[in-house]
């Protein structure tokens, strides 16, 4: 008799310490999905790595579960493992009972009958999950024929119905190719395809990560409505706790290959009790309350460093001796559960103690834009890309990137440049850096003869840049010390000894240990690389730092570390910053002023709090509403805030954006 069958027999067996039952008057109906001791390990050139370990979870029909965690936590591996869609050489153990069938045991042919018909899967990269050389209609035809047996006009009718259900009323979508769809449209098509077989369980693997704020909210609303209407269970994989709260009534928090907590989300986040869950929540930048996000110190242990003890212990502010010697209770309880010796609320109360960590405890008052001359001033800057080609028949590739940009950045001031991808925000950065010449208008610099570098000539390069992708921003061949030293070496500044000293100073400035100097980039994590990039940018003692989405590729807790570091550097070095981002909440802690860019033109510019409270331009208002919409949930308010722009129907909104 398997554990599952035992569970069928007497559910009270599972009552025990630490296990809080969801419903005391449990229905006799068995759960839809029951994961038992599920582990996955991958064969890599470096040996066998355990990606997830002893996952236990039960999901009933119609329940919506969020799998929340940072990259490497195992949330995606778990949900792809459920439907046996993991790539690469791997081994699994444990069992996954889906309506009485063990998905780990059945042959692939039987699994094909379940995938698509009873379990629908939605992926992160919606455009990539569609065959580029087939039309949307062709995808539907094959999927409908396979899962319902309907074909011909009957199948087309079904496809049109499904598309209407996901908000695509335009039948012309069927004739389009995937590359002709916007990200939001493609995700809707992917959702409609997952609905073909009317599945009882929908697995959505980060379906909104690649989307902009407006589409993100719309897709979340859509998924929520579909699951309610169809009474389908949902597994929503995300790194975003706020999105999880928006969509789901339960959350499973993943950390370093384990589920550390399973909790209800019915009253916001108030039922979260694991120190990691709480810390994760606090590291999210918000539009209300304390502007500075609280980073979690350190990083998630790598696959090699994971042991049987609590894996959060080294980053946990509550950890005591017991956490380092005794493993927390086994998570055999597939309902509400906290895998921790001292869940928050029960031992320490609700207050989160401040720690002595400099980067998180020091708060800086937002400096007003300085009255002295700005370090850089853009006047009426325009930029047109492309030009004449040799061949007169070649496609005209001219395109207007920027028009009439007026922007000034004061000394010690941070201006955040907010805009969607393609709005021209990176082009402004390149123009300020002198990498691109403006087609029209002027750029005026006004740098003081500030003496701080090894020699005065460092002033020659007073604008430096840090990038989103720190990995490609560092030469893979040079070690960290060489990377940071490179600007000095190229400019023949100082002796070798002086340069080494400067490198050590810079490592200290970005809170990296001096031992990193001899490491190669591939040995470092994303957050560490971003610190190295900052150190290299600052080694020449610049006046202005252009930050091109420096945090958007990082996990939430690391993101908060970098934002705090930048805040600290801005204050202590009187550094001017141009903070380019698409995320208004991430900009808030740093920015003195916010400039909103849309289709190559500045639509609004003003002080941060003023913009957040009373934005004048409708586009800015919409951006804030869409971001705040998720962030309000973070304040503990369990009431879902009103739909954005309630008077306008969802479809109209969609057309506004896609127009």
């Amino acid at each position: 008799m398997s554990a599952y069958e035992q569970a069928m027999g007497s559910r009270s067996d599972r009552d025990g310490p630490g296990c809080i039952r969801l419903r005391s008057d449990a229905q006799p109906e068995p759960p839809l999905l029951c994961i038992e001791d599920y582990s996955v390990s991958f064969d890599t050139p470096a040996g066998r790595t355990v990606a997830i370990e002893d996952i236990n979870l039960e999901i009933d029909r119609g329940q919506t579960y969020a799998f929340v965690g940072e990259s490497g936590s195992g949330k995606t591996v778990t949900c792809l493992g459920l439907v046996r869609l993991l790539n690469g050489k791997h081994a699994t153990s444990g069992s996954i009972w889906f309506d009485g069938v063990n998905l780990c045991d059945i042959p692939v042919r039987a699994l094909d009958e379940i995938r698509g018909r009873r379990i629908g899967v939605i992926f992160q990269d919606a455009v990539g999950s569609l065959d580029p050389i087939r039309t949307v209609g062709s995808h539907f035809a094959a999927t409908i024929r396979r899962n319902t047996g309907r074909r011909g006009p009957d199948a087309s009718r079904h496809a049109v119905e499904l598309l209407a259900e996901v908000g695509l009323d335009d039948g012309a979508v069927l004739a389009k190719y995937p590359h002709e769809l916007s990200g939001g449209m493609a995700q809707r098509v992917a959702i409609a395809l997952a609905l073909v077989g009317d599945p009882e369980l929908i697995i959505a693997d980060e379906p909104t990560t690649a989307l902009d704020a407006a589409n993100k909210v719309r897709i979340l609303n859509l998924l929520r409505r579909l699951c309610t209407q169809r009474n389908a269970a949902l597994i929503f994989v995300t790194h975003d706790l706020l999105a999880a709260a928006k969509l789901c009534d339960h959350v499973a928090v993943f950390y370093a290959g384990r589920i550390v907590e399973v909790a209800q989300l019915d009253v916001g986040f108030s039922k979260l009790r694991h120190p990691y869950s709480i810390a994760l929540l606090r590291s999210v930048p918000r539009l209300v309350g304390d502007p500075a996000p609280r980073p979690i110190p350190g990083e998630m242990p790598s696959f090699a460093d994971r042991d049987a003890l609590c894996r959060f212990r080294d980053r946990c502010e509550y950890s005591v001796e017991r956490c380092r010697t005794v493993a927390p209770g086994p998570d055999r309880f597939r309902r509400m559960h906290v895998q921790c010796h001292f869940p928050v609320n029960t031992t320490f109360g609700t207050a989160v103690p401040e720690t002595a960590d400099l980067s998180r405890s020091v708060k800086f008052p937002a400096t007003a834009p300085s009255s002295n001359a700005p370090v850089v001033e853009l006047r009426n800057v325009g930029k047109i890309f492309g030009g004449k080609r040799l061949n007169p028949f070649a496609a005209d590739n001219r395109h207007v990137a920027l028009t009439g940009i007026d922007l000034a950045i004061g000394r010690g001031e941070c201006v955040a440049l907010i805009g969607e991808s393609g709005s021209g925000k990176s082009t402004i950065g390149r123009i300020i850096l002198g990498l691109d010449q403006p087609t029209t208008g002027t750029v005026k610099y006004n740098f003081a003869a500030n003496d701080g570098g090894p020699r005065k000539t460092t002033r020659q390069y007073p604008v430096q840049i840090i990038f989103q992708d720190a990995r490609s921003a560092l030469d893979p061949r040079l070690n960290i010390g060489q990377q940071i030293e490179e600007p000095l070496r190229v400019n023949h500044l100082g002796t070798a000894h002086m340069r080494r000293k400067r490198v050590a100073e810079m490592l200290d400035l970005v809170h990296l240990s001096p031992s990193f100097a001899t490491a190669l980039p591939h040995e470092l994590s994303g957050g560490q690389l971003q610190r190295v990039e900052i150190a290299r940018a600052l080694v020449m003692n610049p006046s202005l730092l252009v930050c091109d989405e420096p945090t958007s590729a990082l996990d939430v807790s690391i993101q908060a570390q970098i934002i705090n570091l930048l805040m600290h550097l801005k204050q202590s070095l009187e550094l001017s910053l141009l903070f380019i981002t698409h995320d208004i909440a991430a900009a808030r802690p740093l920015a003195d002023r916010i400039a909103v860019l849309r289709q190559g033109a500045l639509v609004e510019i003003g002080e941060t709090e003023r913009i957040l409270r009373q934005a004048r331009h409708p586009y800015t208002q919409e951006l804030i509403t869409l971001t705040a919409y998720e962030n309000l949930a973070a304040s503990g308010d369990h009431q879902m805030p009103p739909e954005p722009r309630q008077a306008v129907s969802r479809r109209q909104q969609y057309q506004d954006i896609s127009a």
């Binding site: 009958e113 999950s129 580029p132 087939r134 999927t143 690649a210 005209d396 991808s421």
Partner: protein
């Protein structure tokens, strides 16, 4: 689409003109065709008569204009060796070469495509290693060595196949196999890498997630996507096949264009060489033009309806 075709066509025509000019001046710089043909000890009178006959006494640019005008009239000159119009001499041998190339191409595809697909599907397993080792041997084996070894084995020792000529059906066997061998290696390798590229793409996993069985996903999504880059390589293969044919025709005494080219070079028959080169250049340029257009038709992503690709959708 019209703009695209015009653009590519204008480029093709320009390339042809450049190639013609290049060929002409190279020929003239190379030395006096009269001396080359008549020999260094020819009498001055003979040289003068020869020059006048072939218009070689005019200044170079004038010669070039004459040359272009003649080309435009379809007059490609007279073979110095045979005294017959070049166009007749060459057109007699073209069909034999085309037959050989067609058969070689067919055989290479027939074996190379399935081998590459199998290797990709069973990546890292025995069959993959077998295909990879086979393909590296295939294109490392010089075709003239293979040809000579086949002659030794099948003609001298086993006495099964004729040593040369193109008279009977069996005489096709050795030249075709020799020509195809290197290309089987190239095709299987290219197919494999193209397939592996496609097999890692997320839409295959998405198709499995929708319940489509593995075989359907392979035939419906993987193969058509992998085929697109293979189409372009077949265009490039055409040139390689021509080169291969000229060697193989020499080894097997095959009465084709490649052997004609080699014998013409050995006897300095410049008009024939020039015509063959022009013919090949034009053929290759139009083959590539056709491949470009075909690629464009097969792959809807590239400049659909002539519109510009929209920059930066989802990161």
């Amino acid at each position: 689409m019209t703009m695209f075709i015009l653009s590519k066509l204008s480029r093709a025509v320009l390339t042809i003109l450049l190639a013609l000019a290049f060929a002409f001046f190279l020929m003239r710089i190379a030395g006096d065709p009269a001396l080359a043909f008549l020999g260094v000890d020819a009498t001055p009178e003979a040289v003068a008569i020869f020059r006048e006959k072939f218009g070689l006494d005019q200044p170079l640019p004038v010669q070039f204009l004459y040359y272009m005008a003649n080309l435009a009239h379809g007059d490609f000159g007279v073979s110095l060796r045979e005294g017959r119009p070049v166009i007749v001499v060459v057109s007699e041998v073209v069909p034999k070469t085309l037959q050989l190339m067609g058969l070689g191409f067919g055989l290479a595809m027939l074996i190379g495509l399935p081998a590459g697909i199998l290797a990709a599907v069973y990546r890292g397993q025995f069959i993959d290693r077998l295909v990879m080792v086979g393909s590296v041997i295939g294109f490392s084996l010089p075709n003239f060595l293979l040809g000579l070894m086949l002659l030794l084995i099948f003609t001298l020792w086993l006495r099964l196949l004729p040593s040369g000529g193109a008279d009977t059906a069996v005489s096709f066997i050795m030249p075709t196999v020799t020509l195809a061998t290197a290309f089987i290696g190239v095709v299987s390798r290219y197919t494999r890498s193209s397939m592996i590229g496609v097999l890692n793409r997320p839409f295959l996993r998405a198709a499995r997630a929708r319940g489509l069985p593995a075989s359907t996903v392979l035939w419906r999504h993987a193969l058509p996507n992998a085929a697109i880059p293979i189409v372009t390589v077949t265009g490039l293969m055409f040139g390689g096949l021509l080169g291969g044919a000229s060697v193989i025709e020499t080894v097997f005494a095959w009465p084709g264009m490649g052997r004609l080219l080699v014998t013409s070079v050995l006897s300095s028959d410049l008009p024939v060489i020039q015509f063959i080169v022009i013919l090949l250049v034009i053929t290759m340029i139009f083959t590539n033009f056709a491949v470009d257009v075909l690629y464009r038709i097969l792959d809807p992503r590239i400049g659909h309806r002539g519109s510009m690709p929209v920059a930066g959708s989802a990161r």
